[in-house]
Amino acid sequence: MIDPVILFFLLGAAAGLLRSELRLPAAVYELVTIVLLLSIGLKGGIELARQPFGALVPQMLAVVVMGFALALLAFPVLRYIGRLKRADAASIAAHYGSVSVGTYAVAVAYLGSREVAFEEHMPLLLVLLEVPAILVGIVLARGFSRGTRWGSVAHEVFGGKGIVLLMGGLFIGWIAGPDGLSSIEPLFFDLFKGILALFLLEMGLITAAQIGGLRRHGLFLVAFGIAMPLFSGLIGAGLGTVLGLSLGGTAMLATLAASASYIAVPAAMRMSVPDANPTLSLAASLGVTFPFNVLLGIPIYYSIATWIHG
């Protein structure tokens, strides 16, 4: 049965496509995003408190390598099959090598309502996956030489809202542990799915607004926006199995791999690869891949994980 949070996404998308007057104020979108990021970080941090950190290092390294690899694999497809400008191909590759916290949250809801457990330290991998693709994107667009100000790139990336709140949540969860957090559970855990519903309502509206960009830039982006996550999902599922993750964890890593960024990477690309057209990358990542993943992708990655694990 379809999860109600998905219905909120469809409601937002329908309202957007039918040009209704419905808008969420930017401040509401921010509040909802902040609470989601903190919740996800806290959940992950609690788990970190439970196990030796050292045991996670191999997973962490593998996942970082995957982030580099996915961006590097996407680039030639975009550049030579899609015939995109170098900057655009690099920027889109960075989006797809990185991850989407919104998609992750929907996968949490999906597995939750099926009562499938997964390794709760996933948010740590989520944070790690945000970064490598950004570096790949910048290097692909501008090479190593052209005086990239890496200091300000690092500041841009690590100072962004997404990473600060996820990392902050992880730390707080880690230090406070499950008992310490019980007093803030009502806001950050009990309301999680309700707030996710509001978030997806807004995401539906935002997604609908990207369709214009899509119409102007051809079918290639649609094809890429569906094929790339399916491919990445397979890679993620494979890696998850090799790393010995549970069924849920494997589905989760597949979803992370398949998801495309629309917060951290667009901001970083805008500053560091300004000649890339943001309309293209957002049309692909928000207009195609996000709805695809939310509506069809997550169940598919879960099936893939079940099949591999079976």
């Binding site: 930017a26 509206l205 935002i206 607004a209 629309y262 901001a267 805008r270 000649d275 943001p278």
Partner: protein, 100 residues
């Protein structure tokens, strides 16, 4: 009441540029600036401020003519090509010329 002529330079552009743009205008000699949140539409399409990536800012600087020209030239050279942006300049009178 004695008053003095200065320039009011207004830039409307992507919110993502805020941090670097205010550094630029200060470096180029502005003694201050004012920012309001905005939305709009132009050659790079609609920017409706529904979320961060999609929002504009409207930056105003009151300054003397050379500074205004300096900022306009800098901004044109560095941002016009790749960013949604407009810039316009008008005359204003102020009471405290030393402030701008």
């Amino acid at each position: 009441m004695e008053s003095f002529t200065r320039k009011l330079l207004t830039i409307v552009t992507e919110a993502a540029l805020e941090t670097v743009l205010v550094q630029d205008v200060e470096k180029l000699g502005a003694h201050g600036y004012t920012i309001t949140d905005a939305r709009g539409k132009g050659h790079r399409g609609a920017r409706s401020a529904g979320w961060e990536t999609d929002a504009n800012i409207r930056l105003e600087v009151v300054c003397d003519e050379p500074t205004a020209e300096r900022i306009a030239a800098y901004v044109r050279d560095h941002y016009y090509e790749n960013y949604a942006m407009i810039l316009f300049i008008s005359d204003v009178s102020v009471l405290r010329p030393e402030k701008f």
